[in-house]
Symmetry: D2
Subunit: 367 residues, 4 copies
Amino acid sequence: MTGNVLSNRFVLVSFGESHGKCVGCVVDGCPAGLLLSEKDIQRELDRRRPGQSELTTSRKEIDQVEILSGVFESYTTGAPICMIVWNKDIDSSKYKHVKDEPRPGHADYTAAIRYGSFNDHLGGGRFSGRITTSYVMGGAIAKKILREVLKVEILAHTTEIGGIKAEGKSLDEVREAENNPVRCADQEAAKQMITRINEVQAEKDSLGGAIQCIALNVPAGLGDPVFNTLEGDLSKALYAIPAVKSVEFGSGVDAARMTGSQHNDPFALREGKVVTLSNYAGGILGGISNGMPITCRVTIKPTASIGKPQQTVDLRNMKETTIEVEGRHDPCIVPRAVPVVEAMLAMVILDHAISANLIPRVLERKT
Amino acid sequence: MTGNVLSNRFVLVSFGESHGKCVGCVVDGCPAGLLLSEKDIQRELDRRRPGQSELTTSRKEIDQVEILSGVFESYTTGAPICMIVWNKDIDSSKYKHVKDEPRPGHADYTAAIRYGSFNDHLGGGRFSGRITTSYVMGGAIAKKILREVLKVEILAHTTEIGGIKAEGKSLDEVREAENNPVRCADQEAAKQMITRINEVQAEKDSLGGAIQCIALNVPAGLGDPVFNTLEGDLSKALYAIPAVKSVEFGSGVDAARMTGSQHNDPFALREGKVVTLSNYAGGILGGISNGMPITCRVTIKPTASIGKPQQTVDLRNMKETTIEVEGRHDPCIVPRAVPVVEAMLAMVILDHAISANLIPRVLERKT
Amino acid sequence: MTGNVLSNRFVLVSFGESHGKCVGCVVDGCPAGLLLSEKDIQRELDRRRPGQSELTTSRKEIDQVEILSGVFESYTTGAPICMIVWNKDIDSSKYKHVKDEPRPGHADYTAAIRYGSFNDHLGGGRFSGRITTSYVMGGAIAKKILREVLKVEILAHTTEIGGIKAEGKSLDEVREAENNPVRCADQEAAKQMITRINEVQAEKDSLGGAIQCIALNVPAGLGDPVFNTLEGDLSKALYAIPAVKSVEFGSGVDAARMTGSQHNDPFALREGKVVTLSNYAGGILGGISNGMPITCRVTIKPTASIGKPQQTVDLRNMKETTIEVEGRHDPCIVPRAVPVVEAMLAMVILDHAISANLIPRVLERKT
Amino acid sequence: MTGNVLSNRFVLVSFGESHGKCVGCVVDGCPAGLLLSEKDIQRELDRRRPGQSELTTSRKEIDQVEILSGVFESYTTGAPICMIVWNKDIDSSKYKHVKDEPRPGHADYTAAIRYGSFNDHLGGGRFSGRITTSYVMGGAIAKKILREVLKVEILAHTTEIGGIKAEGKSLDEVREAENNPVRCADQEAAKQMITRINEVQAEKDSLGGAIQCIALNVPAGLGDPVFNTLEGDLSKALYAIPAVKSVEFGSGVDAARMTGSQHNDPFALREGKVVTLSNYAGGILGGISNGMPITCRVTIKPTASIGKPQQTVDLRNMKETTIEVEGRHDPCIVPRAVPVVEAMLAMVILDHAISANLIPRVLERKT
């Protein structure tokens, strides 16, 4: 399958460019009978769009969604759903040099190899974080279906920025993470993160961080080993988010330092249900969900576009040179990536739930 | 696509069970004209098979491959290649209780949910590490094609076991990692790792660790954003290896603590070629290879099967109970996972190279 | 894969409804560097749109295409190409009864089973012939690439309508078929067909027919047996055209009456090239193109929507009843299906040419 | 996806060669809990194997199946099922010239283009009708599941051979078609067909024919428009059978001569169920099954391998020449293709039934 098509049963097709007419997507495989309005999509888009706080890019986009197909008399029809966000506030004046002088840490160079001189480089084109708008649109639908049919809840939050780590927090506190601009459940750490972001921004530099994502009430039994494991499909989807450098489940990298007796989650009975007493497995055993919360963590690298002088190569004249990247960029993309991480989880979990016969092709009509 | 089919152009289909007749695979999409004998496959299988040192399971398997199709007069024909390893040393006496009393950290419980009481649980069935034999067979072909057509070299080695970390080593030292039983390039650390493994084995416990994998000479331009990124497809394939808990590229989890000016790899010219001076990107930018070595790291959890008493649930009587897992198990699976990690990288990189028109459908005849 | 995604390497995603906002598509897998304007698409759309002659529906649609993504500075970028035709002349007044009283020969009944009461039935929704607009848009791009890179020419023409059969004609005459309203290369038969169509239209009835499609200069070697044969992929694509009842290659149904010595096409040399002296194979042997013209034939059933009284079932009251279908419909859809048939051939042949490494990922810049 | 993998949810992977070690397949996506023995497969293989009558090739193959994986304690486990038929009676002495002098009507020439000189040409290699053994194995499983879970019955029978057409017969007579060597429900026509086959065999020539296939009790609602229509997926699968030249549904090619009022099947109520009074639709409307019998027809070309002298090209010396094909071949392959046609229908219908949530992932245990 080609590169802009995700999954097999709940399919997202992404299209559009950062400085083109629009960013959009087609969702194919959505069951018929979901009550769906543009508001359902907009709510999630508003969490991702720029300008939510002073920490984000100054690009002014309201990112208003328009549904072009697949919804009839307020319900999904089972036909493909095309959704568009028209680009409004485009300023391409800062991208003249990008083609000849690739920005370090950016896709400028690899795009030139892959697509030749035809690549639309303005604003990063298809490699812009703006493309994740299309993921959020698809994810909004997946989240709604998961919530209504299976009561699945998906929660992501910032756990680390620039070396400042959040303390482990309760689910209720995680649900409150949305209330601060860095989306961190540890309100104290959040303040330090904000200060740190302001510092590096002043230095024309940027910061990375980490996001944890939790999926609650995921039914046991999702996943198709040996290759279509839940971890495998989730990690593939998560790596579609620009800047992700690692994907961990449960114990993640810490598993390297543990013994089996520490790491194995003991089975127990709680209210007649099989549970595990710890969750180093991250809710997945043998590639299949075990009914415990699915927990994963992604690391986001620092924003590649920074004002500081950097060494690069002038490809036209084939000589080394120095650039200072202009344009409007977030000093730390982590907070805005939070809803994107949720979207990816939702779409992959829904894809597996469909495969497991858990989602009717036609939902019951809600009124 | 169903769960036992990997990739799209160089396709691996895995079949077989740990205690069934055989473990096997079908490779579809192999170009015609590759000189291929069972020796090419056997070399890689010998690196994975049990009994290479006293650190591994006492199951005695010579894991001899038989090619059933797709090779004619010593060359691949372009037809699907079926390969089989017949199981020899099967001892199923220790698996009576597994169905009713799922082993913590194992897939026993999730397999029972997913496949009901029909799951072949003997020796772990499809969830056994033994299934990776099929990956290694496919990987052996992929490695040979990559080496012969593109001069790609793929090298994995143990970088951590039970908290003992290897020092960073040169490529030549990494190539020598194969010489010690833990496959660690840092010979000093290797000794400590062996000691540590022996200790936990005596305690009927087990250890996890980490493996780094490097792919050299991968052409720039491989990867199909936004979803079929090189990281995405590699991580999906790597998560098909039982016990993997994280997949990182380049800087991986460390990216969370870095600034953009530290993390961005400066572009430079070396012998007229564009290179980067560091490689925090892990050889991939925007989901596309940039011509630098591809570096990734996987964390392997401690072997779930341990002799120590563990709490579990008796599913038949729905009450909590304690088990001590018997059977023949590696106290640390990391060293034997090294060739499996290489196999996954090889297959995915080849899949992308085919997509990039870099692999002829019919190779030139070598004699 | 879900139902609105065609092929694997040159992928068409179709969306939109007959009476919704638009009909559109996304093409993914188009090489970078194709000079592409809306005119290239419009030329093909104009061949399909209603109102070309008095024989077609009175719906007035100019079917003007808008390219939303994937083209930058006049060239394709390698990114997904979204194209839209906005619906203009919508009249939904005649579709009130369709949900309860399914039209014989139509998808009203099966759509109600498949999508429940949520199906958008207006103007046939996703089951309208109007949806083939999206095929023609994708086909226009495929035809242009095939023509420019491989000099492939694709020609369809009407060979039968309402029992009137065209005489076999030369390629030059086939190229002139476009000049009469029924797109028949036999100008004499064309006149009879027109008369016959007018007759049945007066009787509030409709006619079926047949279309032959020829693809010239298709390189030998396309096709991936045993399942992805050229015939298999072509026929699947052709059956996506509403009303197709048969797909034949070369001799087609006549093969049942032939002997091997009649049917086997003798190989011969012409100007140093291997050719066959006849072409009962239709240019395909063993599922793989042999370098001769690919010839196939589709049968189109008579338009299902007719004014004559017909028996159906009132699904709400579960009793038999009679309907007379209103709305604007072509008495014979064959002529307008001609460019659609060409589009399907072009897309599938291009898909296989990409798989055969014959289409560079980045085309040479034309100016 | 590569060429030897069929479908998406009930997947068949075919491997093996006519004169290699074996012909085999892997079925992935089979639900757990099907009582399955080699006898279930053998029954269908026995219908396809050579030597059932004097009308078939003299190759002596008992075609005994061996199940290598995926079945445990008599039930399918949900894991991939590998099945093998070992080749026994191989005589490759007649295939020396095939590489240089391609047989007219055969894949020798196109295989040489597609796979170069590496193609295994012995006995036709992958292009032999013998490969359909792998289809029949997969089909046997699909038929059993369809029968047990949905009560679907699939029946194919010969309707035409060498210009002799069978009269339309009742379902009961069709079920008796198996009783004569040509599998024709019209016992009178069957005798003539046998005589005609004997005649052409004496002339070292061969005959084509046609097969009708009927699927009863297929639930309404199967099919995923616009591209994954039931006709589209069925025809793709049917074209994987060597020698198929046409695939028709319902009225097929006759639709070209009908009016809408003749062709539209009137809806009616019978015992409270919606039915159609005729079935020109072939049980499919808008690409979706309507609950009526699915009827399709395939045309099989005359066997390409004939003893009569034929013109071909000596590819080594690039000059025209004459050949007389030796080897053991059926003078008419139609009767042995009957179970193969059934197999393809069964696999595709099951694939769609899985997609429609109609097949549980774990079947109820039967004892």
